[in-house]
Amino acid sequence: MFDDFFIRALIAGLGIALVTGPLGCFVVWRRLSYFGDTLAHSALLGVTLAYSFELNIALSVFIISSLIALILIQLQKKTNLPGDALLGLLAHSSLAVGLVVIGFLTFIRFDIMGLLFGDILAVTTDDLLIIWTGGAVILLVLKLIWKPLFASTVNYELAEAEGLNPDRAKAIFTILMAAVIAISIKMVGLLLITGMLIIPAAMARNISDSPQKMVLFSIIGGLLSVLLGLFSSLEFNTSSGPSIIMASLILFILSLLNIKQSIKLKN
């Protein structure tokens, strides 16, 4: 019924949505959307390095994004600059370095649009393996650090006082962010990954009254966005990333209607 590449894109997209759902909730709760952007921008450098040294793209992006996250933590400790300035500095300079390196790699033809906005044609069987095993590891680790991470998201001092080691959980979460960007870069594109993290979670916030429900709805929202987005991408020949993000935006708008209705019901 469908071409192989489309089936692969569907399996890849659904796997990504399962991971971005819960991680996205933490990005919203901990106000990390700009942090996600910074890691995603630095991913371009990872991609170019992957081409230069013939590495796996996901692995290379994961290494570079983790490195940028580490540099950020060091800069936060050693300078008095505000966090958003440091994020901007790292995001744009790593993007710039990535673009300059691309300029030097004249012997490779780059599909820049595909890198920025995702390309469903690019998903290979190897990518599926990376997405699903990588995704399973990310979810498992997230489950293990859930308690300290969530407690310190609510209140850092309570978590620290009651012996949960929130600093370690935060560091591990940073690595998980780099990992989720690494596995979803081909599909969603580096400019739109943060949208994939935030929009389904934001939609879920509108219709949830407990953290567990928000995670669940965020996953469901992500899965629906991937389905809707990929089918419309196929139908209208649009880039996969923007199509998925637009689908999630539509779901977000619908969740706003839900809020209005429940307010009316209360009155």
């Binding site: 919203v28 709760w29 106000r31 308690k147 969530f150 407690a151 998201t153 609510v154 209140n155 001092e157 309570l158 978590a159 620290e160 006082a161 009651e162 012996g163 949960l164 916030r205 949830s208 009254d209 407990s210 953290p211 567990q212 429900k213 928000m214």
Partner: protein, 248 residues
């Protein structure tokens, strides 16, 4: 039982400096099982800082802290919770430890907020939230309770009931309590040991010793001497009839 085994947390000449300014220095105190230690002092005297040193929240401290328990319940003075989180009272009760439903219900009942169990945390009043905070801290059945102004924003009758509850908990759970309170009356009647802070330890000892101390009197002025008379009145009773006063 030797006193060593009963020690839950011990501060040795501890202090904390932030931006080259000492928030508090030279604090030595010990919290033991079944004992209530209270910190008093004016605003900015380092009470909350001392509590955070004892809890291990501040890492780069002067002196040392010896902590002999990991079962800790903490009621912070200020808590800013981000309302981007959908969080019910029930979810909050499970924040740092998975405790049984019955234990949650029991704690919420004790602090009088069981009817709020499924309410969103963001919709509570200040006093209600404070009761939830106390319930959360005691539901874990901790060995060490650190309560930083635990009854702020609670109505007067509720305040008395909650202090009675705190005292009862220290007895039934045999846990040590580090209490910060501005209510001198409570301090002087329900405490085993008082530490009076003013950037350093001004004086410390039994409530009676502290109440008689001159530095304490200058620090708290008129209010302090009133409390002293109340306390001395009770002190008379202790001599005549010990049992009855204990019930108080």
């Amino acid at each position: 039982m030797s006193s060593e085994n009963n020690t839950l947390v011990k501060l040795n000449n501890a202090g904390f400096k932030q931006n080259d300014k000492w928030l508090v220095e030279g604090v030595s105190l010990t919290v033991e099982k079944g004992k209530i230690v209270t910190l008093i002092g004016p605003n900015g005297s380092g009470k909350s800082t001392t509590a955070k040193i004892a809890l291990g929240i501040y890492k780069n401290i002067e002196g040392s802290v010896e902590k002999y328990t990991n079962k800790v319940g903490y009621v912070p003075q200020k808590i800013s919770i981000d309302w981007t989180l959908p969080l019910r009272v029930y979810d909050f009760m499970l924040l740092t430890e998975n405790i049984k439903e019955e234990a949650i219900d029991e704690a919420l009942t004790l602090t009088g907020v069981i009817h709020l169990k499924n309410k969103n945390l963001g919709n509570l009043s200040g006093g209600e939230f404070q009761r939830v905070l106390i319930a959360r801290a005691i539901s874990k059945k901790p060995e060490l309770l650190v309560l930083d102004e635990p009854v702020q924003g609670v109505d007067y009758t509720g305040e008395i009931a909650l202090y009675e509850l705190i005292k009862r908990i220290s007895e039934t759970l045999n846990c040590g309590i580090l209490l910060i309170s501005h209510d001198l009356h409570t301090v002087m009647t329900a405490t085993d040991h008082v530490v009076c802070l003013n950037g350093h330890v001004c004086c410390s000892g039994s409530p009676m010793d502290v109440a008689k101390n001159n530095e304490y009197k200058t620090l708290f002025g008129e209010q302090a001497s009133q409390i002293l008379s109340v306390y001395e009145h009770k002190h008379d009773h202790v001599h005549s009839d010990k049992g009855e006063i204990k019930k108080n």
